[in-house]
Homo-oligomer: 154 residues x 2
DNA sequence: AGACTATAGTTCCGAAATAGAACTGTCAAA
DNA sequence: TTTGACAGTTCTATTTCGGAACTATAGTCT
């Protein structure tokens, strides 16, 4: 597999995997959604090596998921902020959190609870059909080849 | 990071990442949802090395995401089928496909289109609040520590 | 019988990625 | 002038991955 061109595969999952398909990147994104923005903060909360953190942040900036924004002129210091493209990853992160809550929980209960500011309640994320609003299940979905497909899948 | 105990972290995202947080595993799961079930089929459609495929399938079975089911007695042959726990990963996969469609597309258009058998229409997945049904956005969610949290996050 | 094919793996070795620690550079505060 | 905070970079040892060959079981073809 040529991982360096995975983002050009005729498969939307592959293209997403090219960007967020590794453990550190997903954990970094978790921190971003928890409002962590600075190199030292990522490093100390994740215990990631500085080398890998640096590389992953660069990659996320390169793909337009984070913006590197100066917050101090002298010395020059930057923080990393989610772009809209990055914020749009929220359903992926929430879907993963919810699956973990459901299937990987232990007797201690959930690590985090989520409150929806709009309705004020604690909630779970639910994935629904954009057309009829019903919850989605794998077996109720039929897949068709789209225009961007050659022979590969996804 | 001790990846071998990531599934015991007090963070649901970490626990999910422990299971599906690598590129090959996500691509294998894509194939599973496209009804691929056999070793040779995974191998030839993904071009994954047989060694890694074997290891990843074992891991998915160990975590209860796939079941290894005999389909031939002599010679003994098995296929890999999603359990309910595995089927429940569907929102993660769909969220990734949708993000890829939205942010990583090219001029050729989408590789695949999804039809909801319930309503008969082509759809996009939308993540909504279980309580009020409104679409979720990162900035409208407030996070609280839950019972299973000690000092870590997620 | 003997050779060939299909399926599902396992083994081995060189290449690439990761972990862990130390080092660099800039500036402010003590 | 020394220390500390911050944001990285560099180095080496270890781990994981890629690619190819090999093993095992049984059916089919000649």
């Amino acid at each position: 597999m040529k991982w360096d061109t995975l983002d050009e595969e005729p498969c939307s999952l592959s293209r997403t995997v090219a960007v967020v398909g590794d453990r550190w990147t997903l954990l970094i994104l978790r921190e971003c959604f928890l409002r962590v923005r600075r190199f030292e903060a990522f490093q100390s909360s994740l215990q990631i090596t500085r080398h890998l953190l640096s590389e992953r942040l660069k990659k996320l900036v390169r793909f337009g998921i984070l913006r590197r924004v100066p917050y101090s002129e002298a010395p020059k210091r930057y923080e990393y902020i989610l772009t809209q493209k990055g914020l749009d990853l929220y359903p992926i992160i929430m879907a993963m959190v919810h699956w973990g809550d459901t299937h990987m929980g232990d007797e201690r209960g959930r690590p985090l609870l989520h409150e929806h500011k709009i309705c004020g309640k604690l909630f779970d994320p639910v994935m629904v059909c954009s057309e009829c609003g019903e919850p989605l299940h794998a077996k109720q979905v039929h897949v068709h080849a789209g225009p961007g497909r050659d022979q590969a899948v996804g």
